[in-house]
């Protein structure tokens, strides 16, 4: 008897299974809306954020479209105290800070409600770092160009060092470190708890939220600002994805370019932005009278360990991420009313993802699965976070976000993708999938509170 009790208490110490984790606030900076209210309206209306690129001169590029945050309606400084700190922030750090400020506002978390050392940050961020290309081009590349040998491509390192030092403000280097976005967020929110940056590309946002959930479950934090941010709409970012053949080239019709599951899909539309969710331990939320928007119920994560771009054709590891997530939540496939897909709109992903969900839901029937990337674009490290935000808001307002631009079904990925129009529906529980370049598979589950 004593032996059994000992084992039981050891396992409950590892993770407190009885206490739920709530989502108490959401903030978003997206190409279809700044703030959860505008974002929700845009999702309901099936708006596309894709346009011709304005961030730089894209003449001659194979892909000349992107989903950009509208700078005329986004003033980063208004979310930052003191305002002058904005000049130390990269574009994606500013997105994250703004999203966190909006999320905190909705959560009504007041200074003094929670010990700052119990407030953590878990942020998906860009692998290239939130580096502004102007910085790199103006300082780094110019220094390289003037230090190159006359007859060869070899770099004269001492000459490069002289040029670089002469042109570079030392503080500007700090904008480029990938962990600085989470640092700025922590400074703004006085979050002194565990601070982690996750760089698993397209699944980083989902994984950051999952790791935030775990930090609370294992007792390291009571509140976590969790989400993702990215801002890669610059010549190198666009060229990089374009040369890999992943971007849509529907340049003459940007709003219809992102068309997941459609037979005429030809790749994704790169986007930028951030989403931050306030995750909170149930007892803490109750004690301060917070309103829970939803329960963050489960998380599953695997890796294909197969190829660096191609996915496993049988999607075995992706299936496992889904089933692990369901098991983590103590749920089963039948409980799920909606799935927010990774749904990039590349030829390969949409087929593999359909295979994965069909396998995971074999026997219980596949619920509707839509891709909000059809509207928002692919926000890379922020994608998983923005897409969970879309799922939560759909649950709160009783609608399924649509997959827009769906005209011709593809026999290789047949499913109910909520074509073109948002659908009124009650969501009791939902999943959100993310599958990253490199094979990372992550799945989150939310449940009505």
């Amino acid at each position: 008897m004593c032996g059994l009790a000992g084992i039981r208490s050891a396992t409950t110490k590892q993770r407190n299974m009885t206490e739920r984790v709530a989502i108490t606030g959401i903030g978003v900076v997206t190409p279809i809306g700044i703030g959860i209210a505008d974002f929700t309206s845009a999702l309901r209306a099936g708006c596309s954020g894709a346009r011709r690129i304005t961030a730089f001169d894209c003449e001659g590029f194979d892909t000349r479209i992107a989903a950009e945050v509208d700078d005329t309606s986004f003033d980063a400084g208004s979310y930052v105290k003191p305002r002058k700190m904005v000049k130390h922030m990269s574009r994606s750090a500013a997105f994250a800070v703004a999203a966190a400020a909006m999320a905190r506002c909705e959560s009504r978390l007041l200074a003094g409600d929670v010990d700052p050392y119990r407030i953590g940050v878990s942020l998906g961020a860009g692998g290239m770092g939130p580096v502004d290309l102007d910085l790199l081009a103006g300082q780094g590349f110019a220094a390289i160009a003037s230090a190159r040998g006359q007859d060869s491509d070899e770099l004269d390192i001492p000459a490069f060092a002289r040029e670089f030092r002469a042109r570079t403000n030392p503080i500007s280097m700090l904008r480029g470190l990938p962990n600085l976005a989470a640092a700025h967020l922590a400074i703004q929110q006085d979050a002194r708890g565990p601070n982690n940056t996750i760089t698993t590309a397209c699944s980083a946002g989902t994984q950051a939220i999952g790791e935030g959930l775990r930090a609370i479950q294992r007792g390291d934090a009571d509140v976590v600002f969790a989400g993702g941010t990215d801002a890669m709409i610059n010549p190198v970012g666009v060229l990089g994805f374009s040369m890999l053949g992943t971007l849509s080239r529907r340049n003459d019709d940007p709003e219809h370019a992102s068309r997941p599951f459609d037979a005429g899909r030809d790749g994704f539309v790169i986007g930028e932005g951030a989403a931050i969710l306030v995750l909170e331990r149930e007892a803490v939320a109750k004690a301060r009278g917070a309103t829970a928007l939803a329960e963050l119920a489960g998380y599953g994560c695997t890796c294909d360990a197969y190829r660096i771009t191609d996915e496993r054709p049988d999607a075995e590891a992706a299936v496992r991420a889904i089933t692990l997530c369901l098991k983590d939540a103590g749920a089963s496939a039948e409980d799920i009313d909606y799935i927010n897909a990774h749904g990039t709109g590349t030829q390969m992903n949409d087929v593999t993802e359909t295979t994965a969900v069909r396998t995971a839901f074999n026997g219980s029937g596949l619920p509707p699965m839509s891709s909000t990337k059809s509207m928002i674009g692919h926000l890379l490290a922020a994608a998983g976070a923005v897409e969970l935000a879309a799922t939560v808001t759909g649950m709160l307002h009783d609608f399924l976000p649509p997959t827009i631009n769906f005209e011709v079904p593809d026999p290789a990925c047949m499913l109910d993708c909520v074509p073109n129009d948002a659908r009124s529906a009650q969501i009791g529980a939902a999943l959100s999938n993310s599958f990253g370049f490199g094979g990372q598979n992550a799945c989150l589950m939310i449940r009505r509170w």
Binding site: M243, L244, G245, R307, I308, T309, D310, M348
Partner: protein, 76 residues
Amino acid sequence: MVPPADVQPETSLVGLGAESIDFLDLIFRIEEVVGRKVPVSRWETFINTRLPGADLSRAITLAIVLEFADQERSRT
């Protein structure tokens, strides 16, 4: 690395472990040889016309790639 002796004209590249990025790499190297940009769409069109309905995991051989490279080289 695959020993050159193992690669015959009729060897399937996917059979040797080639994946999608390896074909992008091949096109890049063809560009370096012919001295100009080779759009991926031209490779795709070539494959679709040259090997209609074929099992591409078997049919894309060294010979097929060399045929494409020759075609690109002789374009003016």
